[in-house]
Amino acid sequence: MFARLPDLKERAVVRLTVDGRAIEARAGESVAAALLLSGVLVVRTTPVSGAPRGPFCMMGVCFDCLVSIDGEPNRQACMVTVRDGMQVERMQGARKVDP
């Protein structure tokens, strides 16, 4: 749905995983941008109804792009810059805790 312009200034490639799948981003990008640019439109389902949500405002206002980053839930993907080795997980509705 989004693509990088062809003639951008060079930025280092950053590798992270989304639900275990490897994706590539560019240094300086937000996690939300990295997800959208690798075709991940739905980043979570809501705790209330289980409805799918994706990044909406990209400026830290709407809290729709909440994901789990390196094991910490409810992080704003649009406010966190990508890092090599980062593990991003999409959040699924009202999960039960693991026993």
């Binding site: 693509a3 312009l5 959208l36 640019l37 439109l41 799918p52 994706g54 909406f56 405002c57």
Partner: protein, 470 residues
């Protein structure tokens, strides 16, 4: 970060914050700029220091004006706390700051809040679907990642930003399929008596005309759209809209919504500053004196967070607030402050010329502010407008009392995306003015921080004081 006393804490790194911090630091004050973004510029000049967009023509001259502000800030000696969230300010002006998962209190003698603007919610049915975003979001993706949409794109709403993004996309070689303009036809008549002042402001007109012509050459524009529905199962597939009684539908991969910007008042509200309903800008604005001081002692508010005026005005308002802070702290006399403020005040008057015309012309239609029964008003708690109306019928008079019934405004966004919608919907249902209905009582932390982080806050007497709330 230690718990030592600084002179001025400036919160927010957009034009107002950058100008305020630079002015304070140049006056010899120990100044910290606390900003949530990783690099300075705020949203209007987002990523200006590190955007990957190489072709400067794409983002346009207005964007690059921010470079001078950032350069002046960087020269000034002000300390930049980047990726830092100011989540509370106590009555003793201790600023609670979260950086890298840890919080500290930064004690300041003056605080200047420059929290900027956020996009007014546009709660159309289906706006929670993945594939629906805001025009601002599209622009942020372009500025910070050089990203443009690759599918079928529809822009909808009203206001200059809609056409600016269309122009930026066109210059970047990205295609916009359709613009749905929701500006009510009646607005022009209402705005007309402010047209002469607007014409005097020359530059607006030239810019506006250029944007419009640019859009018209490349995009189909439908004017007078009076309802919009984002449709699709699990993801946006099409946009249905109504124009002059005619229902139409277009397929779409991305719908970008926008109907202007409003002050971001969560921090100023949370720390107890008085706010009033602005009947022309249709939003809450903090109550300020002539030097931008709020009703909470030691706190000033500058830039769009104090009422929408745009980037040029924001920088001047930042300078004016900073000069008064310098006067309070004794590095400028009253006469010196007045003398130095003359230039910024004149520039501010120029920058604000024509603003009322724009406010009235682009005032979003009531039907896009007070949503249809089936539209989600509160995205966090998934509350639809009908539930709000039912609650009013039950005798619930305002947004705070409604929380107990619907939880609207109690989610993580702290009412940022639903506050105006809920207030205006209750007001309309009760038949009273929004100012009578009031806004959510905003509570700190103004953005969620972890319990673990709170548990690790310094517990010594000196480090922590208290915060006034309503």
């Amino acid at each position: 970060m230690r718990d030592s006393m600084i002179d001025v804490a400036v919160i927010g790194g957009g034009p107002a914050g950058l100008a305020a911090a630079a002015t304070c630091a140049e006056a010899g004050l120990t100044t910290y700029l606390i900003d949530e973004q990783a690099s300075p510029g705020g949203q209007i000049y987002r990523a200006i220091a590190d955007t990957p967009v190489a072709d400067r023509a794409i983002l346009g001259a207005d964007y690059w004006r921010g470079e001078a502000l950032v350069a002046a800030f960087q020269r000034s000696g002000a300390v930049h706390l980047a990726s830092a969230l100011a989540w509370d300010v106590t009555p003793d002006l201790e600023v609670a700051v979260s950086v890298g998962g840890g919080s500290r209190f930064l004690r300041a003698r003056r605080v200047i809040i420059a929290s900027g603007a956020l996009e007014r919610p546009m709660p159309v049915p289906g706006w929670t679907l993945p594939g629906v975003m805001t025009v601002g979001a599209g622009q942020i993706l372009l500025k910070s990642s050089g990203a443009v949409p690759s599918g079928r794109v529809v822009l909808a709403g009203c206001g200059p930003l809609l056409y600016l993004l269309a122009a930026q996309y066109r210059r970047a070689g990205a295609e916009v399929a359709l613009i749905l303009d929701t500006t009510p036809a009646a607005n022009f008549k209402r705005a007309l008596r402010h047209l002469p002042e607007f014409l005097l402001a020359g530059s607006y007109l030239a810019k506006g005309a250029e944007l419009l012509l640019s859009a018209q050459r490349s995009v189909e524009i439908v004017r007078g759209v009076d309802s919009i529905v984002a449709a699709g199962e699990g993801q946006l597939r099409s946009v249905r809209y109504n124009v002059r009684g005619q229902e139409r539908e277009v397929s779409a991969d991305l719908l970008l919504l926008h109907q202007g910007v409003v002050p971001n008042v969560n921090l100023s509200m949370a720390i107890g500053c008085a706010h009033d309903w602005d009947g022309e800008q249709l939003c809450w604005s903090p109550r300020l004196d002539a030097w931008s001081n709020a009703t909470v002692g030691g706190v000033a508010i500058a830039g769009d967070g104090a009422g929408i005026g745009g980037a040029a005005a924001a920088a001047e308002r930042g300078r004016i607030a900073a000069l008064d802070a310098a006067r309070h702290l004794g590095v400028l006399s009253e006469a010196q402050r007045d003398l130095r403020a003359a230039g910024p005040r004149a520039a501010l008057r120029r920058a604000m010329r024509g603003r009322r015309f724009l406010d009235l012309l682009y005032a979003p239609a009531p039907s896009f502010r007070v949503p249809a029964d089936n539209a989600v008003a509160c995205r966090c708690e998934e509350v639809v407008a009908r539930q709000i109306r039912d609650c009013v019928a039950l005798g619930v008079p305002g947004p705070n009392q409604m929380k107990s019934f619907l939880r609207c405004g109690m989610g993580p966004c702290q009412g940022r995306l639903c506050g105006l919608t809920v207030t205006e919907t209750i007001a309309a249902a009760r038949g009273v003015a929004p100012g009578m209905v009031g806004h959510y009582r905003i509570r700190p932390p103004i953005k969620p921080i972890t319990l673990g982080e709170i548990a690790l806050l310094p517990k010594s007497e000196a480090a922590i004081k208290a915060v006034a709330r309503g």
